[in-house]
């Protein structure tokens, strides 16, 4: 069963992260790398991506004549997806355990940030045989 583990942040969170000390950023990056590696070593890793900064995010709507309407205006309170992992595990509990681990990534001063990680099943393209 595939699950997605998502990290989000407001624009202010991203800006705050950018102002961390070099050591704190390094520690966080190393932690994330080690976490992904552990997922790979345990044979559960499917994919991971880190997304670009919200300042680069655009919102697109269908316009007239097939021309998309593009803007970059978001409310201050908007939670932007910062990154995600997709893992293939035997149970939801395993997914929550992995998320709890990711949540402990170190923040400013090296302390575990206890970030909230949203966890949800990824839908599959196949049907149930109902056997």
């Amino acid at each position: 069963m595939k699950y997605i583990l998502m990290m989000t942040g407001k624009k202010s969170d991203f800006e705050g992260y950018a102002r961390w000390s070099k050591e704190d950023i390094q520690a966080n990056v190393s932690f994330m790398r080690a976490f992904s590696k552990e997922l790979k070593d345990s044979g559960v890793f499917v994919s991971t991506e880190g997304l670009g900064w919200p300042s680069e995010a655009k919102l697109v709507r269908a316009g007239k004549n097939g021309e998309p309407i593009i803007d970059g205006v978001f409310p201050e309170s908007k939670e932007f997806l910062a990154g995600y992992w997709i893992i293939d595990v035997e149970s939801a509990e395993q997914a929550y355990k992995a998320a709890a681990q990711a949540s402990q990534a170190p923040g400013p001063g090296g302390k575990p940030a206890s970030m909230p990680i949203e966890v949800r099943p990824v839908l599959s393209g196949h049907a149930d045989l109902g056997l």
């Binding site: 069963m1 044979g43 499917v46 839908l123 599959s124 196949h126 149930d128």
Partner: protein, 415 residues
């Protein structure tokens, strides 16, 4: 066109030979894990070379030779007893040694591998991956593609599975008859999971996706040949054939689900149905009645009905009642409720569902709400049906199922 057919027949040959070669090499070197890696590499070499150079006169011998060479190369690069190394290294180049291995081959080797790979020490997904590779002769890439995970992840999963087996100390020998009957359910369960979990959407796929249902049928056929007297294996094969027979009718052009009562039965594979029924009849005549035989019998009753209105629901109900005694589970209770509804009316079915409301094994599972919705629809309580269809749609993790449940709700809401 000829090339493609040539490649396909080589692929088929390799898959059939793989477990035989692995059995022989593992038995000789008494190291399942390394033998498995070595055989895997020999297969890849064969798949690269044979299309160009032609299939060797003794393909199995060729594979054994290449795998043995790989084994000793590996041993040389490890710190091991020198004498043993050189002796074995010398031996593997010796034709007599290789002929010995081939002569030593035991038709039970594949069975040994099957029991090993489905060992209860492994998680279901590990057992599935290892079985497909070691017994099915599939490549890691093929298995990864079938389950939509990266190749490296699947390789790691298989590697860890082999480590678990090593750690659990399972010897390379056929389990005793008593061990076999204890462990056969685990084997059958893995084969069953391969069959039922193999369907994947074709969106975005560039490679020809492996047909896991076909693989499961092939593996189960081979298992049945090895355990000819076993009626549960025959039952499982019958169940797979009787279910697979309906495949062409099961999805529409946009991959939407078509339920059993709406399928175009002219699209059902009558040859598969005949074979399934034949197998089932032979299996049922052997006194014991197990889980897979009963499920196959139910599938047979459905498949025998040329028109949906000809379905013998009372017989299906009787079979579910038997199944409830032989192998009770929340899913069986669910399906029993559907059958009861068809014979005794939807209110009866709904009454039977209530037993599941307090069952933690199925609480929150989308099928409970889906079945409830279906029965409520039959009683004419559309409002409640819509509500449960929508709950089920939110809870399912299958895209086609969700679409189906949502459109069912929408259909009722629109009336």
């Amino acid at each position: 066109m000829a090339d493609h057919q040539h490649d396909a027949s080589i692929e088929h040959l390799l898959r059939e030979l793989a477990p035989q070669v692995l059995g022989a090499v593992a038995r000789r070197f008494l190291d399942f894990s390394s033998a498995e890696d070595a055989v895997q590499e020999a297969m890849i070499a064969a798949f690269t070379q044979w299309p160009q150079e032609g299939v060797p006169d003794n393909p199995r011998g060729w594979l054994i030779q290449v795998a043995c060479r790989r084994m000793t190369d590996q041993m040389r690069s490890e710190i091991a007893r020198r004498e043993r190394e050189t002796a074995v290294a010398a031996e593997t180049e010796n034709l007599a040694f290789l002929l010995e291995i081939e002569a030593d081959m035991d038709p039970d080797d594949t069975l040994i591998l099957l029991f090993m790979c489905c060992h209860s020490a492994l998680t279901p997904s590990s057992a599935i991956a290892l079985t497909l590779r070691a017994v099915g002769g599939l490549t890691t890439a093929e298995i990864a593609n079938a389950f939509l995970v990266p190749e490296a992840t699947m390789a790691q999963r298989i590697s860890r599975a082999k480590q678990s087996i090593k750690a659990s100390g399972v010897p390379f020998r056929l389990p005793s008859p008593r061990e076999r009957s204890e462990r056969l359910p685990a084997v059958l369960h893995v084969l069953y999971l391969i069959f039922s979990e193999g369907y994947a959407s074709s969106i975005g796929s560039h490679l020809q996706r492996l047909d896991l249902a076909r693989e499961a049928i092939r593996l189960t056929r081979n298992t049945k040949t090895l355990l000819a007297d076993n009626s549960e294996v025959a039952g499982l094969l019958a169940l797979m054939l009787l279910t697979d027979a309906r495949r062409a009718a099961r999805t529409g052009p946009d991959e939407e689900i078509i339920p059993l009562d709406k399928q175009d039965r002219t699209l059902w594979d009558r040859a598969e149905i005949s074979e399934g029924i034949e197998l089932l009849t032979a299996a049922l005549s052997k006194a014991s009645v197990g889980l897979y035989q009963l499920q196959a019998a139910i599938a047979a009753v459905h498949d025998e009905a040329e028109k949906v209105e000809d379905t013998d629901w009372p017989q299906i109900l009787a079979l579910y009642e038997l199944l409830k005694r032989v192998a009770p589970s929340p899913m069986v209770t669910l399906n029993h409720a559907i059958a009861a509804a068809m014979v005794q009316g939807p209110a009866k079915g709904l009454e039977l569902l209530r037993a599941l409301d307090s069952d933690p094994r199925i609480a929150g599972h989308y099928r409970l709400d889906a079945v409830r919705a279906h029965l409520l629809e039959k009683t004419g309580d559309y409002e409640a049906a819509i509500k449960h269809y929508r709950i089920a749609a939110a809870r399912t993790t299958s895209i086609p199922e969700r679409n189906y449940l949502m459109t069912q709700a929408a259909h009722l809401a629109g009336d």
